[in-house]
């Protein structure tokens, strides 16, 4: 008796490892050639691993749920001497590419098209058993040349170079032989195939853009954040009619040299106040050491769209800044970020973040938390809406707040209370300026 090692075969294009999802045998089991030993799953498909030989299972290297690299030993069989070498294997392990099936379908379509001009032999071109060159054991010739599209080698190469399947091309030559011109005509037609009447042309261009630099950093951070943090989002509408009235009055009467106020500094101030009551929202969570750091200071991150992508500038200690100071700091930081001169200090250390798309704010969004923070406040656009005010509909300025929270730290109830508190501050803006 000899030992035969069964390795994880290369189960498909680009797959480096696969998860063992089923084990059909256990050590000591007797198996016949072709019996399914295990099933492995890649991100594309589940593939069964058949036994290459008859024998007894000696050991299994993996458990269900574990991942195995391509080429790793899955299990080993005790087999007869003849079967010790990996020879004379059944077809099972070969992962059939779907191409053959598609080809057969395509061939059937072509066969139908060609019927009127020439009889097509039985079977489809390149049915799996055709596999020329390989299988023609006895005859030293290739099977069924008549079933292939008729074209000279140079035409075949030309078609292949341009990704044209000759079975779809109608040949204009003798006996339907495909000429180079036929392939060119087909390519022109195929380009226009999207809508032949309208003159619209399908654009099949694919531009390759390497993701590098800031974009790559953003991509990695977003992916990491969204994967690690169980987000939940909470959306509430806020009546900002009074806030807007206050804001336009202040802007109309402000001293020269002071910045024009947007909603943001008001929100920042309201947030700083709300956070006093809800300190759990103003925190950074280190999930690797299971430590939550609650900050006294409200370091408010403000997402800024720069030419290179999204950046978050940080207004430090918003709780200690007046509304004017908040406004000028936001302005200064966003200019620095856009010009690329923002320092590391100005871009790190936030404890909670506000994200706003301004006029493009939409009615709701599901912001992604700026990790390791635990909350992010999304500002949607202000719109005039009819609001039922007890006896009649009134036109009111409504702004939605779409906020997301780290559900590992923040419960839904707390988040709702926090947002409701923020709402009451914004709806009655005098409260923002009152000490309670």
């Amino acid at each position: 008796m000899a030992e035969r090692v069964i390795k994880l075969p290369d189960v498909g294009e680009g797959v480096a490892e696969a998860e063992i999802v089923e084990l059909h045998v256990k050590p000591g089991d007797l198996v016949r050639e072709g019996d399914v030993l295990a099933a492995v799953m890649t991100d594309k498909a589940t593939v069964e691993i058949p036994s290459p030989a008859e024998g007894r299972v000696l050991r299994i290297a993996f458990e269900v749920g574990q991942k195995a690299a391509v080429g790793a030993e899955l299990m080993s069989l005790e087999v007869g001497e003849a079967a010790a070498k990996p020879i004379q294997r059944g077809q099972g392990q070969h992962v059939q590419q779907p191409r053959d099936v598609e080809e057969m379908a395509a061939a059937a379509a072509i066969a139908a098209e060609r019927l009127h001009e020439e009889p097509v032999g039985k079977g489809s071109p390149r049915a799996p058993e055709a596999r020329p060159a390989v299988r023609a054991l006895e005859t030293l010739t290739i099977a069924k040349p008549a079933d292939r599209p008729l074209a000279a080698p140079a035409v075949r190469a030309f078609a292949r170079d341009h990704g044209v399947d000759l079975r779809f091309v109608r040949g204009s030559g003798p006996a339907g032989r495909i000429q180079r011109e036929d392939v060119e005509a087909y390519m022109t037609r195929a380009d226009q195939a999207a809508s032949p009447a309208s003159g619209l042309v399908a654009n099949t261009a694919v531009e390759e853009i390497k993701i590098i630099g800031l974009r790559r950093k953003i991509a990695q951070r977003m992916q990491d954040t969204k994967r690690r943090i169980p987000h939940f989002s909470y959306i509430e509408e806020v009546d900002v009619t009074d806030l807007e009235a206050l804001r336009s009055d202040v802007n109309a009467t402000k001293k020269p040299g002071r910045p024009r106020l947007t909603v943001l500094p008001f929100l920042m101030r309201a947030l700083a106040m709300a956070l006093r009551q809800y300190p759990q929202m103003n925190a950074r969570y280190d999930d690797e050491t299971d430590m939550l750091y609650r900050h006294g200071g409200a370091h408010v991150g403000v997402a800024v769209q720069t030419p290179n992508g999204l950046m978050v500038t940080v207004v430090k200690h918003a709780e200690a800044r007046t509304i004017w100071e908040c406004a000028s700091e936001v302005q200064r930081l966003s200019e620095a970020a856009r010009s690329g001169s923002a320092t590391r200090e100005e871009l790190t250390g936030s404890t909670i973040t506000i994200t706003s798309l301004g006029a493009l704010g939409g009615i709701a969004s599901t912001p992604i938390i700026n990790a390791p923070e635990v909350a992010i406040i999304g500002v949607n656009k202000i719109a005039m809406r009819p609001v039922w005010r007890g006896s009649a509909f009134e036109p009111r300025k409504i702004m939605n707040l779409s906020s997301s929270f780290d559900h590992r730290i923040i419960d839904g109830w707390e988040a709702a209370e926090f947002i409701q508190h923020l709402r009451s501050l914004l709806e009655t803006p005098a409260k923002i300026f009152m000490e309670t």
Partner: protein, 463 residues
């Protein structure tokens, strides 16, 4: 030694491997070729090339004998002698020249050649044991081109008087009695050559006729010639092994065991993919019978591991191996290629020669289509007459409905050179009318091709 890292590693320096390496080198791929023996593989060293040299020498000797014996064309000469050692030296000279040529081509393509026995550690790494030590080579792509080897008979293991074609091409003297086990093309080529050089030759074939993979019509002129040359043939016979006296025990059709006292026993019962000794078991590739399974781009079941040539099974022919090698290099270089040949023509260098390209009439009918067959006997060809070789014919098989050629076969002296025209016609998708409308030179054997097309169209001129 410092490990080598490269893009393409070719394991095996035969026609498949060296052509793949040259093409890869031409395309600018960093390529390493590993070969344990001499470059050129079976074909160049112990196959096609030396056998053709021997067949040529035997033919010349036989012609000279015919001159001495008196003949109708009026050439008179004295009785010739054969100096087989000199013949072998001449043959070896040709092989050496070609070996050197291959080496030069590889060098010009900037291919690094590593001499030694390669052993695959996995699908990316090869360890070569060479005279100068152990060399580890890692590659992005591994091309397996380990070729094939003669199949031994369990009852007649190689050794002593029992030889394979390799030894059969390097005999020091003409054996008195050569027994050939296996009546395929290799056995017939060598058996006929040694018969012409003066050996008594007996062919033992298990099936009911020689060259069983070709149709009887095609092999008939070869059978006639074999009889004329005085080669003994036992059909439906089995070689049982060696008797203690050294004689070969044969069980013929009638069941009464006979003993042949042969001083050499040439076993040519076929060739098989070479799968042992280079670490194939580490890769656990999917097999197709006893050969490596490949798809139409010569990919194996492991990504970036390719297989070309005889190791991928039948037909084990040099020109197929070369086409595969060239293609794989181009695919690795990023070109779109697939093995889409209409035909891999084949030639038997028997006396007379046989050419097959595409389907025989029976094979064509077996695909379920109506066929037209046209045949032209060389006895009606002027050139064949002037060459004293009127045996044979050219035969065309075409579809009945659109006259597209499906196959062309020929048998006759010198017809091997027509194989290119046959293959070209098939690859181009020629119809009978195309061949018939092409002017062929008179007087040449190639006229037989056109006449066969005319015959299939129903209006042959010269029969």
């Amino acid at each position: 030694m410092e490990p080598i890292s490269c893009t393409v590693l070719v394991l095996g320096g035969g026609p498949a491997g060296y052509v793949c390496a040259i093409r890869a080198g031409q395309l600018g791929l960093d390529t390493v070729l590993v070969e344990s023996g001499r470059l050129g593989g079976t074909c160049l060293n112990v196959g096609c090339v030396p056998s053709k040299a021997l067949i040529h020498a035997a033919g010349e000797f036989e012609t000279a004998k015919r001159f001495a014996a008196g003949n109708s064309i009026g050439v008179r000469a004295a009785e010739p002698r054969i100096d087989l050692a000199a013949t072998m030296a001449w043959k070896d000279g040709i092989v050496s020249r070609l070996n050197g040529g291959v080496f030069g081509l590889l060098r010009r393509a900037k291919v690094k050649v590593v001499s030694g026995v390669g052993h695959l550690r996995d699908g990316k790494t090869c360890v070569v044991e060479s005279d100068t030590g152990r060399q580890v080579i890692t590659a992005e792509h591994v091309v397996i081109a380990t070729g094939s080897e003669a199949v031994p008979l369990p009852s007649l293991p190689f050794g002593g008087p029992v030889i394979s074609s390799t030894e059969g091409l390097a005999l020091e003297s003409v054996p008195e009695h050569l027994a050939v086990i296996g009546g395929g093309y290799i056995g017939l080529e060598l058996g006929t050559a040694y018969r012409k050089l003066g050996a008594e030759v007996t062919i033992i074939e298990a099936q009911d006729r020689l060259l069983p993979q070709y149709d009887a019509e095609l092999t008939r002129p070869v059978m006639t010639r074999i009889r004329k040359l005085g080669i003994k043939v036992h059909l439906k016979a089995t070689a049982l092994g060696l008797h203690s006296s050294g004689a070969l025990k044969v069980l013929p059709e009638d069941g009464n065991e006979i003993r042949l006292s042969a001083d050499k026993i040439l076993v040519t019962v076929g060739r098989r993919a070479r799968l042992d000794g280079f670490g194939l078991e580490e890769l656990d590739l999917t097999m197709n019978g006893r050969a490596l399974e490949i798809d139409d781009q010569c990919r194996t079941s492991m990504r970036n591991v390719w297989a070309i040539g005889d190791v991928t099974g039948e037909p084990m022919l040099e020109h197929r191996a070369v086409a595969q090698g060239e293609m794989v290099a181009e695919i690795i270089a990023g070109q779109r290629r697939a093995f889409d040949k209409v035909t891999i023509p084949a030639v038997c260098f028997t006396d007379p020669e046989i050419v097959v390209a595409g389907l025989s009439p029976d094979e064509a009918r077996a695909t379920g289509q109506q066929v037209k067959v046209g045949s032209f006997p060389l006895i009606a060809n002027a050139r064949a007459m002037t060459l004293e070789s009127e045996e044979g014919f050219v035969r065309i098989v075409a579809r009945a409905d659109n006259h597209v050629l499906l196959g062309v076969q020929a048998v006759g002296q010198g017809v091997s050179e027509l194989s290119g025209a046959f293959a070209l016609a098939l690859e181009m998708g020629a119809r009978l009318e195309d061949v018939a409308a092409t002017v062929h030179v008179h007087p040449t054997l190639s006229e037989g091709f056109r006449e066969a097309a005319l015959a299939a169209l129903g209006h042959a001129l010269h029969i």
